[in-house]
C-alpha cells in the first residue's frame, strides 16, 4: 500500500474553462487597454495632485498601445463572444453540478478569510481554520471574481448601447460612471491575477497540478483531504 493516493479535485469541465479563460481574459484586457488609451482620464489623486495616472506613458510606449482604438474595438467586440460564453458555461456548470456549494460564502467565511489572510501574511501563528475544498479567503475571492465578471458584462453593455438600454446606464450611475466602473473591474482582474499567481506559487506543484490533471496526491492516512489555504 502506497503512502499517497490520487484524489479527484477539479473536474474536466472546470479545468478547460479555467485555462480557456486565461487567454480570453488577457485579450479582453489588452483590447480594453487599446480602447482606454483614446480617453485615458482615470487617475488616483487629490484635486490638482495626481499620484498615479492610468496609465503612465512608459507603459503605453512599452506595449505599443498608441493609436490603436479601431483595432481594440474590433478585438473587444469579437472576443466578448467566447469570453461571455465561457463565463456563462461556467455559471451553468456551477449551478447544475452543485459545485456552487463549494464556492459561495457561508456563515463563517468572513471570519475564516480574515484568519487565512493573517496566516498567509505571517501576521498570525494560529493554524489555518479547517476548510472544505476552498477556504474562506478562496470562497470570497472566487465568488467575487464571478460577480466581477457579471458586472463587467453589465457595465460593458451599458456603455455599448446606452441609448437602447438607458435604464442600465442609469442604474450604474450614468454613462461616464459605467465606463469608469468597467475600467475598475478590469483593474480588479489584474489585482486578482497577481494575488492568485502568488498564492498558487506558495501552495506548490501538487496544487497547481490539480488544475492541470484534475488530481492531487494526498496521504493515504488522510480520509477526507482538507487542503486549506490552497488556491
Amino acid at each position: 500500500m502506497s503512502d499517497v493516493r490520487l484524489h479527484a479535485k477539479h473536474s474536466r469541465a472546470v479545468r478547460w474553462m479555467h485555462w480557456v479563460n486565461l487567454p480570453l481574459l488577457t485579450l479582453m484586457l489588452w483590447s480594453g487597454l487599446l480602447i482606454y488609451w483614446a480617453n485615458d482620464v482615470y487617475r488616483i489623486g487629490v484635486g490638482q495632485l495626481t499620484l498615479l495616472h492610468f496609465f503612465p506613458d512608459a507603459v503605453y510606449a512599452r506595449l505599443h498601445v498608441n493609436h490603436r482604438l479601431a483595432e481594440g474595438m474590433a478585438l473587444h467586440f469579437t472576443l466578448l463572444w467566447p469570453f461571455v460564453l465561457n463565463g456563462a458555461a461556467y455559471c451553468a456548470f456551477l449551478a447544475f453540478s452543485g459545485e456552487w456549494r463549494d464556492l459561495i460564502p457561508q456563515k463563517h467565511t468572513l471570519h475564516d478569510a480574515w484568519r487565512v489572510v493573517r496566516h498567509d501574511l505571517h501576521l498570525s501563528s494560529r493554524p489555518l481554520p479547517p476548510a472544505d475544498k476552498y477556504n474562506g479567503a478562496q470562497r470570497l475571492a472566487y465568488t467575487a471574481i464571478l460577480l466581477m465578471g457579471v458586472f463587467s458584462v453589465l457595465s460593458g453593455l451599458a456603455i455599448y448601447k446606452p441609448t437602447q438600454l438607458p435604464w442600465l446606464a442609469s442604474l450604474l450611475g450614468g454613462y461616464p460612471a459605467a465606463r469608469w466602473e468597467h475600467f475598475l473591474f478590469a483593474l480588479g482582474y489584474l489585482v486578482f491575477f497577481v494575488v492568485h499567481v502568488m498564492q498558487v506559487a506558495r501552495a506548490g506543484w501538487n496544487n497547481l497540478r490539480a488544475m492541470i490533471t484534475g488530481y492531487e496526491l494526498v496521504p493515504t492516512t488522510d480520509p477526507d483531504p482538507a487542503p486549506g489555504g490552497q488556491p
Binding site: S2, W19, A38, M73, T78, K161, P162, T163, S170
Partner: protein, 267 residues
C-alpha cells in the same frame, strides 16, 4: 476469460499514475495551445476589409444584426439633461472641415435622388435653403454627445428631425417608398467627409439636422450652418457642414469605417 475483482486488481503506483496523467494533460494542453495560437494567427492574417481582417468585419456585422433586432427600438430615447448641464465639446478633428476658401454664405442643402453616386453632386439634385428647412417643426434636446474615443459632453441642440425632413421632402424618391432604401448617406458640402446611416437610426426621433448649439447658431468649428446629431450613433457619425443627403439601397461609404472602425457604430 479471467476477470479480476477490484480487491485483487494490481494497484498502480499513485506517483507513476500521477506522472502519466500529468504527461497526458500537458500533451493535451500543448495541442490545445497550438490550436489556439493557430486560430489567432489565422484570424489576424485574413484579407483586410477597410482596415480590419475580414473575420472581425463579419463579427461586427453579426453584432450589428443582433443590435438591430434585439436592442434597437425607435421608442428608446437617450436620457435628457437640464439645459444648465450643457457645455461645449472639443473640436476633435478637422477631417472634412471647410477651409478658408469655402463660403458658407451661399450654402444650400442638396437632396439627391435615391441611389445617387457618392461625392458627386449633380444639377438634378434638389436644393433648399436653411430658411426653408427651418420651417419644419423645431426640436430641442439636451443630450450626451458620445465620442467613440470614450468621452462625453452634454450639449443642447436645436434643429429639425431628420424624420420630419424625410416626411416633407422626397428623400425616398417621388413615391416616398422608405422601405426600398435601408440606408441614408450624408456628405459634407465638399464631399471630404461622409457617413452612412441605417434608415431606422436616421429616422430615430433623436437624430436631428441641427443649426443651433447651446442656444446659439452653429459656429464653423461645430459644423455651421447645419450639422447632424444623433443619440443612437457615436460622434463620428455626427456629420458637420452637411451638404448633401440621399437614400440608398446599398450601404453608403463611411469615412471612419474605411479606416478600421465599425460601420454601424450604434449606441
Amino acid at each position: 476469460m479471467r476477470r479480476s475483482s477490484p480487491a485483487s486488481a494490481p494497484q498502480p503506483d499513485p506517483r507513476r499514475e500521477m506522472a502519466r496523467r500529468t504527461r497526458r494533460s500537458f500533451l493535451m494542453g500543448a495541442t490545445a495551445g497550438l490550436a489556439g495560437l493557430g486560430a489567432w494567427e489565422w484570424l489576424n492574417h485574413r484579407p483586410m476589409l477597410d482596415g480590419l481582417a475580414s473575420p472581425y468585419r463579419r463579427l461586427l456585422g453579426l453584432n450589428e444584426r443582433l443590435s438591430e433586432h434585439l436592442l434597437f427600438d425607435s421608442r428608446h430615447l437617450a436620457r435628457q439633461f437640464p439645459t444648465a448641464a450643457a457645455g461645449w465639446p472639443r473640436v476633435n478633428g478637422m477631417e472634412g472641415a471647410p477651409d478658408a476658401t469655402d463660403s458658407l454664405a451661399d450654402w444650400r442643402l442638396l437632396l439627391a435622388a435615391p441611389n445617387s453616386t457618392p461625392g458627386a453632386p449633380s444639377a438634378s439634385d434638389f436644393s433648399l435653403s436653411l430658411a426653408e428647412l427651418q420651417r419644419l417643426p423645431r426640436v430641442s434636446m439636451t443630450t450626451e454627445l458620445r465620442c467613440i474615443e470614450g468621452w462625453t459632453q452634454v450639449v443642447q441642440w436645436a434643429g429639425v428631425r431628420l424624420a420630419d425632413f424625410a416626411a416633407r421632402y422626397p428623400l425616398f424618391g417621388s413615391g416616398n417608398n422608405a422601405s426600398a432604401f435601408p440606408y441614408i448617406a450624408l456628405e459634407t458640402a465638399d464631399g471630404g467627409y461622409y457617413v452612412g446611416f441605417d434608415r431606422e437610426s436616421a429616422l430615430h426621433p433623436q437624430t436631428l439636422l441641427a443649426d443651433e448649439m447651446n442656444g446659439a447658431p452653429l459656429t464653423p468649428d461645430h459644423g455651421a450652418p447645419l450639422r447632424l446629431v444623433s443619440t443612437v450613433k457615436y460622434g463620428i457619425k455626427s456629420l458637420k457642414w452637411v451638404g448633401r443627403i440621399y437614400a440608398s439601397r446599398r450601404r453608403p461609404p463611411d469615412f471612419w469605417a474605411q479606416q478600421g472602425y465599425d460601420w454601424y457604430a450604434g449606441l
